[in-house]
C-alpha cells in the first residue's frame, strides 16, 4: 500500500497503482507537488499553481475509489493544463493581461472529462499570450525556461505544458496546437506531443486563437501515455459543431504491433528549406531503424507545403482578429478607465494585449478589410486547399509522413523576439499538417551533442492517430532511452 511513488513511472502505471489501491492518489500528488515546488519557480512553468488544491483533488479521487466508484486509467494521474483551457473558478488568463484575474464560470469539455476520469490537476501552465508564439516569451507574465538548458526557450506556445512534463512536475499535460504549439515545445523539451486530427477533440472551453486550426493535444513521456490521455478527451461533443464522431479511442495494445509492412514517406522536397545537420542525422537514424523493423521508406512530395507559412500567417491572424474582438473591457477582464467608449475600447485593448497579439490583430484586420480580402484571405484559403490535397496525395501512398518537428534545436531566450518573421519561419514543418487538419505527433528522437532534445514528427491520415503512435512506440522501444531526464529534475532523476 505504501510503495513510494516514482514520478518516472508512466501515467499508465501510476493510474493502475492508484486504481488498484496500491498507492493513494494523495501520495502520488504530493511527490509531484513537492517537485514542482522545487523546480517550477526556476522554470516558470505555471501561471497558477495551488498545491493544496491539487492535494484536495487527489484526496477526492481516493474518496471516490474508496466508495467503490470505477474510475478511468487516468485516476490519480497528475495532469497540467495550459492556461487557455477554461477551468471553473480557477484563473484562466491565456498568458494575457487582458484576462488577469478572470475566473471562468464553466469548465472546458476536456477539463470536464478529466475531472470525471479522476485526474488530478497540477495547475495552469504558462503559454504565449493567446497561444500566439513559438517560445513562451510572449506570455504577459514571464517566460518559461527549457528544463534542458535554462538559457533556452521551451518552445511555444504550450511551453509551460511541455516543460512541466519534461521536468517531471506533472505526469501528463494538455496544450493546444494551432500551427505547432504542442509539437514544437514537445520537440524542444524532449517529450511526446500530439496534435490530434482537427475535430477529434472538442474545442469547447479552449479559448480560441484561430478556430479553424486550433486543437487540444496531449503531452506525455511515452507513446502509450499519449494514447491514454487522447482516449480520455477525444470524440464528438455536441457543444462543438466541428467536433467529429470519427475520433475513437486507440487500443493501447495495437501500439505494440511494430511497423512491418508500413509505408513511411519522407517529404524530401520540403526538407530542402534547410534543417540543422544534427536533426537531419537524427531523422536518418530513425529512418534506418524503422526500415530495419520492416517499414518501407519512400519519398513523397508536398509541393505546396513551402507556402504554408504565408498561408497560415494570413488565416490565423484573420481569425484571431475576430476571435479576440470580445476582449473589449465590457463584460470581463481588464478595462482601461475612460469616460468615452471608443477611447475605453482602444485603450483597454492597446494596454491589455501584448506586442505579438497586437501585431497579429492588426495583420488579420488588414487581411480581412475591404479591398484586401480576395488578395489575402480568400487566396490563402485556396492555397490551404492545395496543401490539403498534397497530404491527401502523399498519404495515398504512405501510411504516415516522417519529418523533423523543427528546423533547429531550441534557441536562446531573446534570440528571435525582435524578428517576428524569423520566429514564424521556425514553424515551417509543423504548419502544413495544421492547415491540412491532419493528425501530427512529435516524438523525442535523441539529443544534440550539447544535450538538447531533438524531436521528429509523424503526420497521418485523418483520425489515424493510432498509426502515428504505433510508429513512435516502435522507435521508443528499440532506441533505448530517447527521453531522458533533464538536469533540473534531479530529485528523482534516474538517467
Amino acid at each position: 500500500m505504501t510503495k513510494k511513488p516514482d514520478p518516472l513511472e508512466t501515467a499508465e502505471s501510476i493510474g493502475r497503482a492508484v486504481r488498484n489501491r496500491e498507492r493513494s492518489a494523495v501520495e502520488v500528488a504530493r511527490v509531484f507537488v513537492e517537485r514542482a515546488e522545487r523546480s517550477a519557480p526556476r522554470l516558470s512553468t505555471y501561471l497558477h499553481r495551488d498545491g493544496a488544491r491539487t492535494l484536495e483533488m487527489a484526496a477526492e479521487v481516493d474518496r471516490r475509489l474508496e466508495s467503490g466508484e470505477k474510475l478511468s486509467p487516468l485516476a490519480g494521474v497528475p495532469i497540467a493544463l495550459k492556461d487557455n483551457l477554461c477551468t471553473h473558478g480557477i484563473p484562466t488568463t491565456c498568458g494575457s493581461r487582458i484576462l488577469e484575474g478572470y475566473l471562468p464560470p464553466y469548465d472546458a469539455h476536456v477539463v470536464e472529462r478529466l475531472r470525471a476520469a479522476g485526474a488530478v490537476f497540477t495547475g495552469k501552465t504558462n503559454c504565449d499570450e493567446f497561444a500566439m508564439g513559438s517560445s513562451t516569451e510572449n506570455s504577459a507574465y514571464f517566460p518559461t525556461r527549457n528544463p534542458w538548458d535554462l538559457d533556452r526557450v521551451p518552445g511555444g506556445s504550450s511551453g509551460g505544458s511541455a516543460a512541466t512534463v519534461a521536468a517531471l512536475e506533472a505526469s501528463l499535460a494538455l496544450g493546444s496546437d494551432t500551427g505547432g504549439s504542442v509539437r514544437q515545445p514537445a520537440a524542444f523539451c524532449g517529450v511526446f506531443g500530439l496534435k490530434p486530427t482537427y475535430g477529434a477533440v472538442s474545442r469547447y472551453g479552449l479559448v480560441a486563437f484561430a478556430s479553424s486550426l486550433d486543437q487540444i493535444g496531449p503531452f506525455a513521456r511515452t507513446a502509450r501515455d499519449v494514447a491514454l490521455l487522447f482516449n480520455e478527451i477525444c470524440g464528438r461533443d455536441e457543444r462543438d459543431m466541428t467536433s467529429r464522431s470519427d475520433a475513437t479511442p486507440i487500443d493501447l495494445e495495437s501500439l505494440e504491433r511494430g511497423v512491418r509492412g508500413m509505408k513511411i514517406g519522407i517529404p524530401r522536397d520540403l526538407l530542402s528549406v534547410g534543417v540543422d545537420p544534427e536533426i537531419t542525422a537524427s531523422l536518418d537514424r530513425v529512418t534506418k531503424k524503422l526500415s530495419g523493423e520492416g517499414a518501407e521508406i519512400l519519398d513523397v512530395t508536398l509541393p505546396h507545403a513551402r507556402y504554408s507559412i504565408a498561408t497560415y500567417y494570413l488565416i490565423a491572424p484573420a481569425e484571431a482578429s475576430s476571435n479576440l474582438a470580445r476582449y473589449d473591457g465590457v463584460r470581463y477582464g481588464f478595462r482601461a478607465k475612460s469616460d468615452d467608449l471608443q477611447t475605453m475600447y482602444a485603450s483597454t485593448r492597446g494596454k491589455g494585449f501584448g506586442r505579438e497579439v497586437r501585431r497579429r490583430i492588426l495583420l488579420g484586420t488588414y487581411a480581412l478589410s475591404a479591398g484586401y480580402y480576395d488578395a489575402y484571405y480568400l487566396r490563402a484559403m485556396k492555397v490551404r486547399t492545395l496543401v490539403r490535397r498534397d497530404f491527401d496525395q502523399a498519404l495515398l501512398r504512405a501510411d504516415a509522413i516522417l519529418l523533423p518537428t523543427t528546423p533547429t534545436p531550441p534557441f536562446k531566450l531573446g534570440e528571435k523576439v525582435d524578428d517576428p518573421l524569423a520566429m514564424y519561419l521556425n514553424d515551417i514543418f509543423s504548419i502544413p499538417a495544421s492547415l491540412a487538419g491532419a493528425p501530427a505527433l512529435s516524438f523525442p528522437s535523441g539529443r544534440t551533442r550539447s544535450n538538447l532534445p531533438i524531436g521528429l514528427q509523424l503526420v497521418g491520415r485523418p483520425f489515424d492517430e493510432g498509426t502515428l503512435l504505433r510508429i513512435a512506440r516502435t522507435w521508443e522501444k528499440k532506441s533505448g532511452d530517447p527521453l531522458g531526464v533533464p538536469p533540473i529534475a534531479n530529485g528523482g532523476a534516474r538517467t
Binding site: Y307, Y332, L362, T365, Y424
Partner: protein, 95 residues
C-alpha cells in the same frame, strides 16, 4: 498598397487598438516584412480552386433541438464585470 503609419492607424481604429505614435515605425517595418513575405502566394495559380475555410466542410453535424436549458452562470458572470449597475453591465456612454 504599401503599409505606412497612416494605414497602421486606420487599421488600428478598425481593430479598436491604441497604437502610440512611437510604435508606428516598428509596426510599419514588421507588417511590411510579413506582408512582403506572404506576397509569394501571388505566384500560385489558384483559379478554379475551392477555398477551405473549415477542414470539416461537407461532414454532417447534427443541429441542436430547440430546447431551453437554464444556465446558472449569471451571478458568476456578472461578478466578472469591470463595471455594473445592478443587473446591467455598464460602459461609458455610446454616442
Amino acid at each position: 498598397m504599401p503599409i505606412d503609419a497612416k494605414v497602421v492607424q486606420q487599421v488600428a481604429v478598425l481593430a479598436r487598438l491604441q497604437v502610440e505614435s512611437s510604435e508606428e515605425a516598428r509596426l510599419v517595418k514588421e507588417l511590411t516584412s510579413i506582408l512582403s513575405y506572404v506576397e509569394q502566394l501571388q505566384d500560385l495559380d489558384v483559379s478554379g480552386i475551392e477555398p477551405t475555410s473549415q477542414v470539416g466542410e461537407g461532414t454532417k453535424a447534427p443541429l441542436r433541438e430547440d430546447e431551453v436549458k437554464p444556465s446558472n452562470v449569471r451571478d458568476e458572470a456578472l461578478a466578472q464585470a469591470p463595471d455594473r449597475d445592478g443587473d446591467y453591465f455598464r460602459v461609458p456612454q455610446v454616442v
